[in-house]
């Protein structure tokens, strides 16, 4: 029973999934979900379940990401890839400023299909950054408001995942309109669907009325719970269960920073794949007519020298200082700035670091002789 809406969970057969997607699309949403492209599972427009990476999984480890065929046809049998939903909520390049009254374009209404628990947490974290302060960002707010979120509870954990130790998964608890758990067993290929909001419940009710879904038997609810428990137990990495804020504040000159600086390329991959990294630069948009009054914002990274530019030079010149900035911000100073951790344990930074730097390992090394 969903505690938010009081509506009971439903079960939806695999071949009825398109009815769910249609119901959402009919309500005026642009469907976006996981697609296999160029050897990775990324996010793109989808029109039906046929666009999802059926029968694919990912194998991830430090500095490694590969897709591989599964021996079943699971639609969500993988974890997270190099992209996150910030691709849509906080696009890499966006015009700044209030649109003209004459501009007829309505903001896009997105439906995100397949949002993992760690990603729900990441969206909530960015919500706080972009809309929870004194100066809410209208661009983010426009994309975020009304976005329809269909979460998926992970059926497996990648080696890089550590959401359990960040209390951010693997089960989706809040922040979704609908949450699906994929079940593939003797009962057939189906989805347990739970509503998290009134409009999610309304979609489910419509599916039930239309015969595409039916109330879920207790055995399916139990099977779904078992999926999440199994996933949680399978997680190999974890962030040490200590006060990260105190640890990092007390160790700003720890020799481990020198050690990681010898490996880090300052390439910034981690900041691009991280679902919570939000730094952006504000740029004037050049205009040949000289009537320049446009500005844009584009993703920036604290690994660039320009990021800390002041009085003719950067404050953080060494790679050491820039890696320290990224990690202490993500795990420690973010708490003072925004009241939460900046990390959700998705493990993307570990997989996509070309040299395989592992944030959990770096913390453990500093904690070891604290």
């Amino acid at each position: 029973m969903s505690s938010v809406t009081g509506s009971p969970p439903a079960v939806l057969r695999r071949d009825e999934l398109d009815r769910l997607l249609d119901a959402i699309r009919r309500r005026g949403f642009r469907l976006v979900g996981p697609v296999l492209k160029d050897g990775a599972i990324v996010y793109g427009d989808i029109s039906s379940a046929a666009d999802l990476p059926a029968g694919w999984t990912d194998e991830q480890d430090a500095g490694t990401y590969r897709v591989r065929r599964r021996d079943d046809q699971a639609l969500f049998g993988y974890n997270v890839g190099p992209q996150s939903w910030k691709k849509y909520l906080f696009p890499a390049v966006a015009r700044l400023g209030v649109p003209d009254a004459g501009d007829a374009a309505e903001p896009e209404r997105f439906a995100f299909i397949g949002v993992r628990a760690c990603e729900l947490r990441a969206i909530a974290i960015q919500d706080r950054v972009f809309t929870g302060g004194r100066h809410p960002d209208p661009g983010y707010a426009a994309n975020r408001e009304g976005a329809f979120l269909v979460a998926v509870n992970c059926g497996q954990a990648a080696k890089t995942c550590f959401c359990t130790s960040m209390s951010a998964g693997p089960k989706a608890e809040q922040g979704f309109d609908l949450a699906l758990t994929e079940l593939l067993d003797s009962g057939g290929h189906r989805f347990l669907a739970e509503a998290g909001t009134a409009r999610g419940a309304e979609v489910l009710a419509e599916l039930i009325t239309g015969g595409a879904a039916s109330p879920a038997p207790a055995s399916d609810v139990a099977a779904a719970d078992a999926v999440s428990e199994r996933t949680a137990a399978a997680m190999e990495r974890s962030m040490p269960a200590i006060d990260l804020r105190d640890l990092l504040y007390d160790n700003l000159e720890h020799p481990r920073w020198d050690d990681v600086a010898e490996r880090c390329l300052a390439c910034g991959n981690c900041t691009m794949v991280c679902p919570t990294c939000f730094c952006f630069s504000v740029e004037e948009v050049p205009d040949l007519t000289g009537a320049a009054d446009e500005r844009q914002r584009s993703w920036d990274s604290c690994f660039t020298l320009d990021h800390s530019y002041l009085h003719g030079g950067p404050v953080r010149t060494s790679t050491r200082s820039r890696y320290r900035q990224w990690m202490t911000h993500k795990l420690a100073t973010w708490q003072d700035q925004f009241g939460t951790s900046g990390c959700v344990g998705c493990g993307r930074c570990i997989a996509w670091c070309p040299v395989g730097i592992d944030i959990t390992e770096e913390v453990a090394a500093i904690a070891a002789d604290d």
Partner: protein, 281 residues
């Protein structure tokens, strides 16, 4: 006077409507004061800043350097150090500049009531302190001594020299000026600003100190203030980092746990102490 919340709630952070330059005045060989006419009533607290934008070139944070109790044009004192500040220093009356603000925390002038106020300024650090000086002078009976200790590299770098003389002549006001190096024409002090602190007469027990200048100067000034008996929680500094959105959104102005556009630029020494000497923070 509008509150900060009212001002920012009315329009998104991305908007910087043009204000007209009412007057411009050189203060030294590389520093100008621009008087900008707000299109609507504008209020600010001493220590706050505006973001000034030259379309096509960029936008920078500039401390408001005028009198907070006076309506009319809003003063900004700007040093020419880069492309945007160069363009701002070149503006003349009648031209326009994008403005949004005010942003940031302010000098705790109310907390300072009842005691001496020590102002320690280095170089371009004096403009962000001037509004606090005006406030103390306009509310003289609420404060004890006003002690202004100001230094610059050479005599030609000193700002607001006419006002310094006028302030010095007021009762209960001490003004000591020093430069790092000077030629024979200079008849004033030569030496570093922090050294002026130990030589000044003030009651440290109830004093509040505000300091702005190059970071190294501020660290030495704080040491001298603490050595003189000013309590740690009564010393305030204005810090600077790369600033772009001024709305606590873009992540650039971080100094450890502080977002300077929101938690600063004015910060108490007690909060800052553990972060101040960390290299490349």
């Amino acid at each position: 006077m509008r509150t900060l919340a009212e001002a920012s709630a009315e329009r998104p952070w991305t908007e910087s409507p043009p204000w007209q330059v009412a007057a411009s005045r050189p203060e030294s060989h590389d520093t100008m004061t621009l008087e900008l006419e707000p299109p609507a009533p504008f209020g600010f607290e001493p220590g706050q800043f505006n973001m000034l934008r030259v379309p096509g070139i960029g936008e920078v944070p500039i401390s408001i350097s005028g009198d907070p109790s006076r309506p009319g044009p809003v003063l900004h004192t700007i040093r020419d150090v880069g492309a945007v500040t160069h363009a701002l220093c070149a503006l003349r009356p009648g031209q326009r500049v994008g403005v949004r603000g005010p942003y940031g925390t302010c000098w705790p002038v109310r907390e300072a009531e009842g005691g001496d106020v020590i102002i320690v300024a280095g170089g371009i650090g004096l403009p962000p302190l001037r509004p606090a000086i005006y406030h103390v002078l306009a509310n003289r009976e609420l404060y004890g001594r006003l002690v202004l200790l100001y230094g610059a590299r050479t005599p030609s770098d000193l700002l607001f020299t006419g006002e310094l003389a006028a302030w010095r002549s007021r009762p209960g006001v001490t003004v000591e000026v020093t430069v790092d190096t000077a030629g024979r024409d200079w008849h004033g002090g030569v030496g570093v600003v922090p050294d002026l602190i130990g030589k000044s007469a003030f009651d440290p027990r109830a004093a509040v100190a505000f300091t702005v200048g190059p970071e190294i100067m501020m660290r030495f000034a704080v040491r001298a203030l603490l050595a003189a008996g000013v309590p740690e929680d009564r010393v305030f500094l204005s810090m600077e980092r790369n600033m772009q959105c001024a709305g606590a959104l873009c992540g650039h102005c971080q100094l450890g746990p502080f977002l300077l556009c929101r938690d600063g630029p004015v910060l108490g020494y007690r909060q800052l102490a553990r972060w101040m000497s960390v290299r490349e923070l």
